[in-house]
């Protein structure tokens, strides 16, 4: 078990969102790059954002719910906890933190369903101006209506 720390926004650094917009996050230092927080919507749900290494530079972003009954992290649950906006800002903040630490990394992600992918598309579109100032985001449709999002920090170019 490695130590973990509670994070605060780094002062003086570009930040996508303010502390008020996202949940407080705990970072667990390991090869899995896990960020933890509690979604406090209709009920309290422990969530984990994990950057799964796919290669030397490519990392898959996973948003996982902790399932107490099974004692495991799962990405299949639909929580409908009424706090999607705060959860997505928390994810965005974690991506930003990860890419600030590792600017050479490329983050990829894809929703479990077309509905989830449309939600991601909508939020990216809503905040496009803010996002494109710091990141390159490519969105590719694969077979069977699957969408993959690719994110790279602009400093690399």
């Amino acid at each position: 078990m490695r130590p973990y720390m509670f994070l605060v926004n780094a002062s003086g650094e570009y930040s996508l969102c303010t502390m008020e917009e996202h949940y407080p996050v705990s970072y667990q230092e390991s090869e899995l790059y896990q960020y933890w927080f509690v979604s406090t919507g209709k009920r309290s749900i422990i969530k984990c954002i994990q950057f799964q290494p796919l290669g030397d530079f490519l990392f898959n972003l996973c948003l996982l719910d902790y399932i107490p009954e099974k004692g495991e992290l799962c990405d299949q649950s639909i929580s409908n906890n009424g706090d999607v906006r705060v959860v997505l800002w928390t994810v965005a903040w974690c991506v930003e933190h990860h890419l600030n630490r590792f600017p050479e990394h490329i983050v990829v992600f894809s929703g479990n369903s077309m509905g989830r992918n449309k939600l991601y598309l909508r939020y990216i579109q809503m905040h496009r101006a803010k996002l494109v100032s710091a990141y390159i985001i490519n969105i590719l449709e694969r077979n069977n209506d699957e969408i993959v999002f690719y994110v790279q920090k602009k400093v690399n170019l």
Partner: protein, 52 residues
């Protein structure tokens, strides 16, 4: 492990620490899927010149 439902903040923090320390297993079909198309993903980013 307790079920958490509207626990006070300090109890939530404790619960979160306990869960983190237990290093729970990950059950993610999406992760498996993304790992299975790793070569395609890498080829795409290389074709865009994102990787030197």
């Amino acid at each position: 492990m307790k079920k958490i439902k509207n626990l006070p903040d300090n109890e939530l923090t404790k619960e979160l620490q306990l869960v983190m320390e237990s290093s729970p297993k990950v059950n993610s079909l999406k992760s498996e899927k993304m790992a299975s198309i790793k070569d395609e993903l890498e080829a795409n980013v290389k074709s865009w010149g994102w990787v030197k």
